[in-house]
Amino acid sequence: MSLFELPILPTLGAAAAGGCASGGCSSGGCGTGGCGSAQAERTSENSRREFLKTATTLTLGAMSLTLLPGVTAGDDMLPLPPPGGDGHAPAAKPMYGFLIDTTKCIGAGKCLTACRVENSVPEGQSRTWVERYVHYKDGRVEVDLVPETGYAGSGEVQPAAEDVLRAYFVPKLCNQCVDAPCNQVCPVHASIKSPEGIELVDTERCIGCGYCVQACPYGIRFMNHDTGVADKCNWCYHRVMRNEQPACVEACPTGARVFGRIDDPDSEISRRLATVPTNVLKQHLGTLPLTRYVGLTDEVT
């Protein structure tokens, strides 16, 4: 069996296929498997509440941000969507979300190559990567990167199939924290939130102090070797503004990366968020990530 053909966490895979609240069962320990509809409804209710809360926070957040000079998008930023209504007042800003379904990721790494090309990410640095978690029967857990991440040594562990309890892949990218520490610490307004709530780097303003790199709890930011300024995943803001999907989403062959408008209840991401329990990374830090995960285990940091 080759490296990345290890069986994906069986309970998660099976449950997801059946439409059950998979992550909830495996981590919450319900274990019955028969809770389908009731839990789905509760989940749906919770998700709606969550969504409304997030929506309010975001709207108020975006409104207050526009009051602050220097925090809003500058003239040099990408064009915003055209104004709606009477043509004068701008339309309510769309709100985006990102859903990572770890039960669907097969570690193909197509997303990584697509991102590197799309965003000219230098070798040795990453806007996004995919981690592979291997749980052994003796209790050990090994984590490494799929080779497409572009690091020497990544994906070199060759676990013997009979020793492995389960294995799964976890793609990482910017969490687009609503209360983003990277944004908070930047001394010169070079870390800015777009009106749509996407965290961007103003490469013209960045002084290259690296404070935001230290402040991001997820290791997403880096000082770009080529440009000498901070760099990070921005959900392919330039593509999103053209109504295109982020490059990684487009490249993913299994639909493990779902991107879309969370203010549109009919979008795929809204429907998924309403029916599947999701988690965020390092929730205890209170960064309020917009990137949500299906099937996150305790081992994932």
Partner: protein, 396 residues
């Protein structure tokens, strides 16, 4: 947040492989700390009238100024876009802990500059009258055109120095407490994130300031065949012992608190201290830099029996040890905080660079710069106190 690296195979996030903050960011709080600490010593004389410190009072302000003039150098060397450095004061972000540095630093340096000018004004004015050639011009320029000092003016100067020193104390405390806050407020990093950080930075700053002054004083006395003032060395030793004790207690409270509570971050910190920082923390910072001087300093500080030469030698050795302690502490915080990945599953190597912009050689130059400036200042200004007889009522 279990630190898995100790029992599972290590894994670090791809972007964590190269620590972003180099040895320059170690030097930044090291130098800034000495700036604040040296100033605090001068205020002991100018505000709190600790007469024993009179021999180093002027040296203290000048040293603080020379160190302060170089405090931004490591930052500039570190910035990837140094030409945009002024953005920090032109378009500062109110939410950023870092944005305040420019303002706090500028305010402090302004206070210090005026303080130094007022303290040395009588000497400058006197030399403007007696010096010849180009030097005369230099002193006249330094005197800002005021070439006379009446007893009344001297009294006003004295009061101004008092007032400025009073303003300078909180400014120096804010300057360095703030540097601690820069690290303490980073919740992403369990080794940094503690509300004790500003207090720890502040006390260690004062410690390093006293130590650098003690060392300078003993060194300068030896170079000019002067007998160091025994009371001054004793007083500095006492101060050093007291503030070192405080610093060590604060550091210990912080680490013991985390260790005893055994919350998530302890797993990371324990792993860090028992592996990557074992030498620089346990050996250098704790044993050599803290325990040893705490045991030795009472000799020059409190003993009346030992010979002066011996006491001064011990004081000098302790000053060196304490400077090593503070340097190790800065290293352990700044570099130590980057030696583990935010995956909490693996350690990161810190490659020591020799010749780069942020290499060891550049660091040595940065450290030497304030001493070169001090040498220059000593050519220009009399850092030793005027003899008691020649004093014209002004206590400077």
């Amino acid at each position: 947040m279990e630190f898995h690296a100790l029992h599972d195979a290590p894994f670090i996030f791809p972007n964590d492989a190269h620590p972003v903050w180099s040895i320059m960011i170690v030097l930044y709080p090291y130098i800034t700390g000495m700036v604040a600490g040296a100033f605090v010593v001068s205020t002991m004389y100018h505000v709190f009238h600790r007469e024993a410190l009179r021999p180093v009072a002027r040296l203290a302000v000048v040293t603080s100024l020379c160190l302060g003039a170089c405090a931004t150098l490591p930052l500039l060397l570190h910035l990837h876009q140094p030409l945009r450095a002024l953005n920090v004061v032109v378009t500062p972000s109110p939410t950023s802990a870092m944005a305040g540095f420019g303002f706090i630093y500028s305010f402090y340096m302004l206070v210090l500059l005026i303080d130094v000018w007022l303290i040395f004004r009588p000497a400058i004015v006197e030399r403007a009258g007696t010096a010849t050639g180009a030097w005369r011009g230099v002193y006249r320029a330094l005197a800002l055109g005021v070439v006379e000092i009446t007893p009344r003016a001297a009294e006003i100067d004295r009061r101004l120095v008092y007032a400025l020193s009073m303003i300078g104390i909180p400014a120096a405390c804010v300057l360095h407490g703030y540097v601690g806050f820069l690290f303490g407020a980073i919740k992403a990093n369990p080794w940094w994130s503690t509300s004790m950080m500003p207090v720890i930075f502040l006390t260690s700053a004062i410690v390093s300031g006293i130590a650098v002054l003690m060392l300078l004083y003993l060194f300068l006395c030896q170079r000019s065949d002067m007998e160091p003032d025994a009371e001054c060395v004793r007083s500095l030793s006492r101060l050093l012992w007291m503030f070192l004790l405080l610093a060590v207690v604060f550091e210990a409270i912080d680490i013991l608190h985390v260790a005893y509570e055994r919350e998530e971050e302890w797993h990371v910190i324990r792993a860090l201290l028992s592996t990557q920082l074992r030498f620089s923390y346990l050996t250098l910072q704790i044993v050599i830099g803290s325990i040893l001087p705490l045991l030795l300093l009472p000799l020059p500080a409190f003993s009346g029996r030992l010979g002066a030469g011996f006491r001064h030698s011990i004081a000098g050795v302790c000053a060196v040890l304490v400077l090593v302690q503070v340097a190790a502490m800065r290293w352990n915080v700044v570099v130590g905080g980057q030696l583990f990945s935010k995956s909490f599953r693996g350690f990161v190597e810190y490659p020591v660079d020799w010749f780069g912009r942020e290499g060891l050689l550049a660091a040595a130059v940065v450290l030497a710069m304030p001493m070169v400036l001090l040498w220059g200042a000593m050519q220009l200004l009399p850092v030793w106190p005027p003899s008691l007889e020649s004093e014209s009522g002004a206590k400077t």
